[in-house]
Amino acid sequence: MGEPLIDIRDLIVALPPGADRAHAVDGVSLTINPNEILCIVGESGSGKSLTAHAVMGLLPRGVTASGGQILFGGADLLRLPPSGIRKLRGRDIAMIFQDPMAALNPVVTIGRQITEQIRAHRAIPEKEALELAGGLLAEMGLADPKALLKSFPHQLSGGQRQRVMIAMALSLSPKLLIADEPTTALDVTTQAQILKLIKRIQTERAMSVLFITHDFGVVADMADRVAVMRHGRVVEEGAAAEVLGNPKHSYTRALIAAVPRGESALQPVAQDKPLLTVTELSKHFRRGGFFSGSAAVTAVDRVSLTLSRGETLGIVGESGSGKSTLARCVIRLLDPDAGEILFDGADIARMTPGALRPLRRRIQMVFQDPFSSLNPRQTVGEIVIAGPRAYGEDMKEARERAADILRLVGLNPETMNRFPHEFSGGQRQRIGLARALMLKPDILIADEPVSALDVTVQAQVLKLLDDVRQQMNLAMLFITHDMRVAAQVCHRVMVMRHGQVVESGPTGTVFAAPSSDYTRALLAAIPGRGKLAPV
């Protein structure tokens, strides 16, 4: 194996005084060898990202590497003067980030952003650097590099931006590329392409990659070696096949077990009379004004679906597919432009607010963002009983029921007097679920309820949703971008793209024998599919 490229020894990263803990990274030792991909995997707060930033010498203000060594080419990076580490940055060690939109300067052309890096380390004229940049963009599989060089970041798609970032990072053929969750902000099919690209250039250039991720599926696709981090420490490290196939540490096992496998386990429930029938529903948005004219965007295009008691229908799609708009039309947060929504025999698509009110309580929703979905100025008790109070339920009775419901979603009823900011993301989603359940709904719409949560918490919330559905015989509409999650909780799925239904059917059938190319692409893009052992 020879000399490691990077040798991290007992790294300690200290947080500023007043943080919830003293050390974000607490004695981490890792090596990265030449020509390999090392994945650091962990949940939020594990210190994985700060470890990577410490290597780059780019720790945020107030955060310092207070102990240990990072050896690179015989020098300790933590002890190099600023000018020394600056010479290495970009030339020997390059980095790409999670959100490529935020990582590119919005007011400078792509070309200048790449040449700036080249010319920081090589004394060549701008014109020559631009030619190099164009070549790199072509190598990243980007069409028309000449035009791209003159473009600004907002004119590119997310996938294109991340390719630009990679081209920039590779512009001086670094020995190490640090990739900090480079695909988390991207759609799943784009993610698959970017992962493939990183893998390809790593092999072609025989370079090393330090890849930070929270997703064991991505690890299975990418890693030569894996380090699992938790609470600032490495709990397990080893060859990818070894860690994935035969995890030693209980936390690793839990993490791997929590990853949905993307294989359907649920059989469709017997369809009796549907509770909800949506027919040819459409929704347009008008944007622009004055000059651009009023260009209408069709967000939902003649979508039909049925939903019965006791079943979960998954609506799957990438961003911009119209899945959330569809959900908001069904619950009448948005007014549909065409089509009908038959709920228990009545068409609610065009009902007046007054007529809708008695029906409204029977369709409830759980929202995506655990932070913005709860009113920060109300206590949990006030939040949970607000619905029944709006329907005139007695305060005392509502509070008693609230205690029961909170217990049902796994929270202590004493939480009622506390405020939302005192709770974690997973707990907040439970509060949001309790709020919805207080109205004893028939239909529960869950709009990406777990996408903001860590994978272990995600598994718990998914299980809770499924339990509640069974106990209360709910019909559930489950909106998600994640095929794996859909497979886990949905009896039937409907795949959407550009506002239209691409395919629908029982989950098992759709996953085993997809009838459309798009569904096939989505399935193929699931990271780590087939590489993780079944639970």
Partner: protein, 325 residues
């Protein structure tokens, strides 16, 4: 929406604002007790009913409101803002005579404010919480709390009355009849006190804004990217942080120009700067309502033109403008 349609939209907005200003003025005149005829009769010293009637007919005041409005609009469109009661001269001529002095003073103040403010803001942003930063915060709080005219008087008290360094009044030395470069130098010296007084308040605003924007931008990912490229801290600050932090400053300069003009009315008065501001004061004291209204219209149109210019500058500085705002 590309840049041209954006500029087109802003151009139309400027025209609409101008029309709105003129409409507003038309109705403002009707706020004052008595109409033009009563006022003119009062000036003439007698209020004979027949004379009033002939005056009303002469000025079209006996016609229905829409007709009067139409006449007013078409007059303004031809550059006719009526005539000054007191000076017996077209309002436009009176204002145009004074306008260059006001423009000179405001341009100088704007330059001083932006240059000084950006420099101060950058210094404060370099180390948030440092002594420099704290001093800057205290200074800007003081400037925000001072009446601008009073600040001018205090500056005059210190630098002209007590120290005798700078001339306290006017545009140039009276009766000296300087020409050429000597005259330019003389005006420049006279401009220092009023110009800096006017600039100080805005300098504080620009410093605050620059500081906030710099700190905000410095936390963004693309600054991390820039550092990851291995370029020097100076280059990171100039090319990436400052470049982005200046974008909101352009819009701000446009919006502040309206307040600048208001401040200039007061400061001109303190330093007897022969501009539109002192003219406004004269109009108030002599109850010359057409002149006062004319000043409002002219300054409003100038400020909205300046805003058009900053909008165009903004569209050049920020390519994202095509995403629409």
């Amino acid at each position: 929406m590309n840049r041209l349609t954006y500029i087109g939209a802003r151009l139309i907005k400027t025209v609409l604002i101008t029309i709105a200003v003129v409409l507003l003025s038309f109705f403002l005149v009707r706020l004052a007790p008595g109409d033009t005829a009563t006022v003119m009769a009062g000036q003439a010293g007698f209020a004979d009913e027949a004379f009033m009637k002939s005056l009303r007919a002469e000025y079209g005041l006996d016609q229905p409101l829409p007709v009067q409005l139409w006449k007013y609009l078409s007059a303004v469109a031809q550059g006719d803002l009526g005539s000054s009661f007191v000076r017996r001269q077209p309002v436009v001529d009176v204002i145009l005579e004074r306008l260059p002095n006001t423009l000179l003073l405001n341009a100088f103040a704007l330059l001083v404010a932006i240059a000084g403010g950006v420099a101060m803001g950058m210094m404060a942003a370099r180390r948030p919480g440092s002594a420099t930063d704290a001093a800057m915060t205290v200074l800007s709080m003081l400037f925000y709390a001072m009446p601008q005219f009073w600040l001018g008087m205090m500056a005059m008290l210190v630098f002209s009355v007590w120290l005798g360094w700078l001339p306290p009044f006017g545009l140039e030395t009276m009766g000296a009849d300087y020409t050429g470069l000597t005259r330019i130098g003389d005006i420049a010296v006279h401009m220092i006190l009023p110009g800096v007084t006017l600039a100080l308040y805005f300098m504080a605003s620009y410093a605050r804004l620059t500081r906030t924007a710099m700190i905000e931008v410095a936390d963004q990912d693309f600054v991390k990217t820039a550092r990851a490229k291995g370029i020097s801290e100076g280059q990171v600050a100039r090319r990436h942080i400052l470049r982005n932090a200046l974008v909101p400053l352009i819009t701000f300069a446009g919006l502040q120009s309206a307040i600048l003009v208001g401040g200039s009315v007061l400061v001109e008065n303190v330093f007897s700067w022969p501009g539109v501001g002192t003219l406004a004061y004269e109009a108030v004291t002599t109850r010359d309502n057409p002149l006062l209204l004319g000043i409002f219209i002219v300054t409003a149109v100038l400020v909205s033109l300046f805003n058009l210019a900053t909008d165009i500058a903004y569209s050049i500085a920020d390519p994202r403008v095509e995403l629409g705002r």
